[in-house]
Amino acid sequence: MHRIKTRLALPTAAALFASAQIAMGAPIRFSIRATDAAPPLAGTIFLDLIDGDGMAGSSARVTDLSLPPTAMDGPVSPLLPDGFLLTDEALISTLAFATANVYEGLAFTLDAEWIGDGAIGFPDALVLGFTDADGIPLFATADPRGENVFLILSAAGGENYVPAPFSLSVREPGSEAVPEPRSMALFALGLGLMGALAVRRKRGLAVLALLAVSAGAAAAALNDVTGQITLDKAPLVYNRATRTFHGLVTVRNTSASVLGAPMYLVVSGLPAGVSVNNAIDLTVDGKPMLKLPVPQNGLLPGGAIPDFLVRFHNPDKLKFSAVFRVLSFSGALPPDPGEGGKSTLAGIDANGNGIRDDVEIYIAANFGHSEKLREALNQMAVSTQKGIVATTVQQSMDAANADMRSMECLRYVSPGSKAWKSLEAVSLNTPDRIRAWEAHEERLGGKVFPSAENEKASCGFDPDLLNN
């Protein structure tokens, strides 16, 4: 791993960056404070050095502080004659500044050294944010992660979300401060220059793997298209309230082909104890998949999915190095109904095949590797949905008997399969659907359901004619 000792994506620094050699190794002075008088507001300012790549080697020397830190956490050591050294020996190292008036802000001089180029995991970064005593952000900012941080400084480029009434000034120590609003303009310019340096954008592994192949011409198959895209990753930030780490991924189609929707971001490389927050899709080998917001007609050549949020639950603050792949569908699937598919009990069935479209996509994405399993689950999706929309005892009985057949069919095509559990959980994906199911089961209380003798005959299709 080569070392990049860098000036950050900051106005003056970026300008220096453009002239290359003097960009390296020179400290930068940051100052954030409110320009307008405001009633004092107590809070805590955090400076977090967050490791994004799972390796050690990055560090931040923070000196000439305008406030003394009131707490520190992780691998932080004092520097003489003043200041602190934060390293990425742990996932996160923190300097905290509890203050009676956060509007007075914080000024510090930073000399950072970053390893890596962001190709592995996320870029390491220093993150600055203002929170209350409970870790809740005090000010709304334009941070696309929704975490309302002020500044993110990394080898991947700086991100400046300092909100009014605060202003940011950046300068080389000993030089004149760059005043507002020029500093902001320069900051933006600096980001652009950093982009040109292409530190942040890294291409994923060029591996094309066919994950699922369907014999049916119209059947959908999920393919690995990681070799046809680039993945840009922006640093992790830490949410103290939820104890989750949030990063951004931008996916761009660099191939000459349209990549079919839906598309999924597969996250792997996570140690036990680190999970992707709120994923509900899984690959065949159990890796979490996040559904990317792709237009219904797919991701066109050159098209991008910008700033897709990936949240990691990591309460033990374990270092990790996330590995990403992108999967894309080929073949016929209905459009993803998204949130619109949750507004009614019935949901959306645009292709009119009797299967709720969100469930049909889920089955194809999660169980599409087996034609028999997929068809058995599609049958169960229909019988489950009958139970969701049932309003009479007769309808609930019909639905439950159909569900018995679906369970028997699943047992025939995949003995011991527990896939019905995931399917039921995904089918009951709104409060109204759960309540409807509760009413459905209440109508079934005390009823008797015979088990059919021939499980194969319980399939509404001939499983023996399917390939796998």
Binding site: W420, K421, L428, P431, F449, P450, A457
Partner: protein, 421 residues
């Protein structure tokens, strides 16, 4: 109760069931019901169906193919009267945006989806659900009237010469015990329970003992809770969960069927119970469709059947084109019984179509309630009809309809489909 003459010539049951995809022509000698526990009160039925499938698979795996054909399996579904509100509120607070899906995954213990849920969220919620399950068992909210439908099915099966064994799990034991108390005295002789993880302190009818794990946290919790309020504690611990696939050591499939010694008890318990019960006299015939009518103390309610080709089967025309009114009662309570024979379905394509079942209140002096249980190889229903006044023979041609069974047959597979409407 006096029964009119049985039609002996009708008791020729085909032993050539291979033509029937559902295998329903085999003479069944025992019906094994699975009586599920109610768990957390929601999303229970597919777990119950899965448990029934596992039980069936394991029991059949211990039987010869000839013996296998003598068993049939059914789910006696129990539903909790518990409310969802507190579960939903807890899930909303702790499980994030996808909480409905993750809530169901937690209740079902879906290891696949739960791989996406942080341990701390899982642990906290599991504690909550476990406590809720224990509370439900100490002070159940389910309606006891639900048991009545199950009792009708048990009595109908016994009337057709089948022994009834209920493998009851967890709170399913409460319902099974209650069902035994409501069985008529004759039927009760051919009925027994195999208790698994029972919260009850007794079992009403049992030939083989019970099983309870020492580390069953739910029943252990029930024991503590019941002892604290002076109630009799559950049946004693007599086994250990050596598999530990279920952190509660309580699930039917996940714990009690997974553990070898417990599995052996349940499977052999079923087989031994079948062997130990006497054969019911079987006054009623088995068929591909059967209908059992019972009522109260008034002398006579009659069962009427219209077969697909229009034939009207009733007390004065007991032999139809495809089935028979083989039990007719005029002294109160019933049963009356009709069955469509397997032979008809094997030999006569006209046997498919719509069967209409109804009742006529023939004689009596007060309002009467008729209870009709309709059974097919893939569906079963019990309905009650209140009859205000007896109509004598004037009602013979204007029966009160109760249920239709529509039979169709797949041209491709030959399988019959039965829809009760």
């Amino acid at each position: 109760m006096r029964m009119r003459t049985l039609l002996p010539s009708l008791l020729l049951f085909s032993q050539a069931p291979s033509l029937f995809a559902q295998g329903s022509c085999t003479q069944v000698s025992a019906v094994v019901y699975f009586g599920n526990g109610v768990g957390s009160g929601v999303t229970t039925i597919k777990s119950a169906m899965a448990s029934l499938g596992d039980l069936k698979s394991d029991v059949k795996g211990s039987l010869s193919s000839d013996e296998q054909r003598k068993y049939s399996f059914k789910l006696a579904f129990n539903h909790s009267g518990g409310k969802l509100a507190d579960v939903i509120e807890t899930a909303r607070q702790t499980l994030g945006n996808e909480w409905p899906t993750l809530l169901v995954a937690l209740i079902l213990r879906d290891a696949r989806l739960l791989s996406l849920v942080p341990d701390e969220a899982k642990n906290g919620f599991n504690d909550f659900l476990t406590n809720r399950t224990i509370q439900e068992m100490v002070a159940p909210g389910a309606s006891n009237s639900d048991v009545d439908t199950q009792v009708q099915s048990y009595e109908s099966d016994i009337g057709e010469g089948k022994k009834v064994i209920v493998v009851a799990h967890s709170q399913g034991n409460v319902f099974a015990n209650l069902a035994f108390q409501r069985l008529d005295a004759n039927s009760a002789r051919y009925f027994a329970i195999v208790p698994v993880a029972s919260p009850e302190s007794f079992v009403r009818k049992n030939l083989v003992g019970h099983v309870r794990f020492a580390d069953d946290l739910v029943i252990g919790g029930v024991e503590l809770a019941k002892a604290a309020i002076g109630l009799a504690v559950p049946l004693a611990v007599n086994d250990e969960d050596d598999v530990d696939a279920d952190f509660l050591s309580h699930g039917f499939s996940e714990a009690y069927l997974a553990d070898p010694s417990s599995n052996r008890f349940i499977v052999q318990g079923v087989i031994s119970t079948v062997a130990g019960l006497q054969n019911p006299p079987g006054g009623a015939g088995q068929g591909i469709i059967t209908v059992t009518l019972t009522w109260g103390a008034n002398p006579d309610v009659d069962l009427h059947i219209y077969e697909p080709t229009g034939g009207h089967v009733f007390y004065s025309a007991r032999t139809g084109a495809f089935g028979y009114l083989d039990v007719d009662d005029v002294t109160g309570f019933g049963p009356e019984h009709y069955f469509a024979s397997c032979e008809s379905f094997l030999t006569d394509s006209l046997a498919v179509g719509r069967y209409r079942f109804g009742v006529n209140y023939y004689s009596g002096s007060s309002p009467e309630t008729a209870v009709v249980t309709v059974k097919t190889p893939t569906s079963e229903i019990t309905r009650s009809v209140v009859l205000s006044a007896a109509r004598g023979s004037s009602g013979d041609n204007s029966m009160v309809p109760v249920a239709d069974v529509v039979v169709s047959r797949s041209a491709a597979t030959g399988a019959f489909d039965f829809s009760i409407q």
